[in-house]
Amino acid sequence: MKRCYYFPGCSMAATGKGYQQSIDAVARKIGLELVAIPDWNCCGATAAHTMNERMALALPARNLARAEQDGGGMEIAVACAACYSRMQYARQAVLSSPEKRAEIEAIIDMPCSGSNPVISFLELFSRPELMEAVQAKLTKNLNGLKVACYYGCLTSRPSAIARPDDPENPMQMDRIVALTGAEPVAWDFKTECCGASHQVDAPKAAQPLIHRILTNAREHGADCIVTACPLCALNLDMRQSKIMETFGGDYALPVYQFTELLALCMGVHPRDFGLHTHFTPAVGLMRNALKKGGDQA
């Protein structure tokens, strides 16, 4: 039904493997054809832009250029928040002035016009035609499961680049996830920062960020957190037990990608997208929710 370019990003081959599998499964179900950008490269997130602006723009611009080689101007959907941000920056830089474009083209050594729009997975899936297609394929229901949709920074900010529906209280993911019968909670930390790579290079300073997000989600009654980014998920999921240890806390909030919930409710077997591979145990909550929700009416 819908065909677009797809930029997976480097994490998808490693910690984001489950996310990738769930994306593939959902795409197959709804007839969404995701064409990986031929010979894509790392977009440079999250290091390049702190070191050199030209490098930070050129790396993602090369991906734009590769997608353009087909002509046709097909949209490029990006599944990672950081990659999405960098690709948008690059496209807007190319479109900003002929001089900037020439500079970038000289660095990547190929033409790059910015002809192909860049969209986030959230924007893609919240379009009415995709929402309908998803709805049509849902067979199971997460009736009443309280989820905290976590958007993070870069699908929301800076709003001129990310173009969210609302930079402080985005609702795209909430609307998508609500299709499964899950109940997105209203909470305050949807767009607060998870610390990104500072969880590696400045962990002491960055750990409180995760703690605050988990606490607020829990405070607002969430049973789990849903994201649309491999890095956000990794930080909230993999580091969760350590955070509990450091800051105190005896609860666990499983972390899912929104496509995992969709896949699950489309009847895809959780093993097929590695639900059991989450760091914070994620299978039990889903099993119970599905039992409670049953089949879609």
Partner: protein
Amino acid sequence: MSRIGVVVCHCGTNIAGVVDVERVAAEAAKLPNVVFAVTNKYTCSEPGQATMKAAIEEHQLDRLVICSCSPRMHEATFRRMLKDTRINPYMLEIANLREQCAWVHTDKEKATEKAIDLMRMAVAKVEQNKPLFTSTIPIHKKCLIIGGGIAGIQAALDVADAGYQVTIVEREPSIGGHMVMLDKTFPTLDCSACISTPKMVDVGQHPNITLMTSSEVVNVGGYVGSFEVTIKQKARYVDHTKCTGCGLCETKCPTKVPSEFNQGYNKRTAIYKPFAQAVPAKPVIDPDSCKMLKEGKCGVCAKVCPLGCIDFKDTAKEYTETYGAIIVATGYDLIPWQDLYGEYGGGRYADVITGLQFERLVNASGPTEGHILRPSDGTEPKDVVIIKCVGSRDPHKGKSYCSRACCMYSAKHAHQILEKLPGANVYIFYMDVRTPGKGYEEFYDRTRADGAVYIRGRVSKIYKENGKLVCKGEDTLLGKPVSVQADMVVLATAMVPAVGVEKLTTMLGIATDPDKWVQEAHPKLRPVETQTGGIFLAGTCQGPKDIPDTVAQASAAAVKVCGLFSKDEMETSPMISGVDQQKCCGCGFCVNCCPYKAISLVEIDAREGARRVKKTVASVNSGLCQGCGCCTAACRTGAIDLSGYTNAQILKEVDALCL
């Protein structure tokens, strides 16, 4: 042969500091027909004017060029001066060497060259000037006031007390505006309703005041002295000529909806008076909630009304009247912060409220009878945070301006909380504390003495944790991020122009600034006038202000109206358009482009050779024409011309500059 005098003004150093005025005068003296050219230190001053008058006699001048400030400043002054001389006041040209030259340039040589050009243009134009004579129009001594808040009320009482007829148009069912919603007023803490309701009663009872509530202006025509205004009164479904305001209907009405007056914190009935002291003290039916009007069943009010005042078949009525002057007093609304500040919860938290909502919560006649209780659960808050500048001084999300009243009412709120809730804590996040008013700084001192904690910094986010509203800010004086856990948060939200004001200003043909505040004619010297004659302004329609300033401005506007009404007729500017019917082809271009609806097409008897024919031509209404000149630019046959700015005059100016 004309005899032209040229006076070049120093304006102290305003002009002479940049322009070599002596050189300008010397160059003027070289021009043909210029028989007198001098400089003067302050041309507009008494001695300056005397010098010119003497020169006019001595040199038998018949026209005059004054090189000085903008004609908007002193053209009228100099025309008045010429009335006592042999020269017609319109044989005068002003070259603007100040605003359009000295003030905007620094290079003295180039500025002087430009000044000489401007002077030469004015001399060339004045050669073509012809004496013009003013005419008069009658003044209908009846004033329309749009808006029944404290500004409209004050202006109405002042004009009416002076003996003139006044009509107040108010779109709500009662006059009173925002002021009557407030609890106490800073810095004196007198009760807002106690001081404003007597004025409302005076308005209701004044023999010279006609009150039209539930009404809006729907059309405005005419001009100063005789505006034709159509007012639409919405259906009220209650015959106010019979109703005594007994209130029985209100007690029996079964439909309850949130009260606008109490900011939604309690309910009113579908047949209602907005509040107890409403003027008129008679109810109306809200058609959006009345069961009878919506579903055709109920009618309890009609059954209980002892005088049979209820009329479910009532319809809107339109009235057209002539007014000599109009005062715009449409007031303000609060910025819709929920749509702009997601970081403050975007309206998701019941206990994050606006200052106006707080006024109702603290008001003895309000929904909580003056007990400060949280809207969410009706408990007393212990820790209250007040955040200032929400929407003000925020060009990114809100408005760039300061809303002027918030610093003081926030201090007042803090004082009231600390007074009414012993043991409570108040934290005020501010950027600057602005207290330029009599007794204001002292009130701020007192609030700090009461125990209010002022924290210099803007709050970045409010979120809920452990049942508290956590306000994250920076104490910029400490240089540290801080948070305060609050039970209730009061936002000092920006004032914005009242909803719908644009429609009205378009109807009235008056200008607004980029924020849609009504533009005054001059920010300092004509603060209550608009650019359109006969239309004045009062209160917050012009920009944020507090009650004292609003009332002062309302009285000022009233004086302007009384001044206008003190004469039976007024002079009109002769600098208006005229049509050469011979040349006019009746195309109607000018009709469409006239912003004042001053031109219409008329049929006249004309001659074509020996034949008599009917011909359609443009005709200018001299009362409506404001002399803007749009029509002269649009006219393809050159039939329309503007006295004082004729095509010939302007071409001479151009020639003087270019040839």
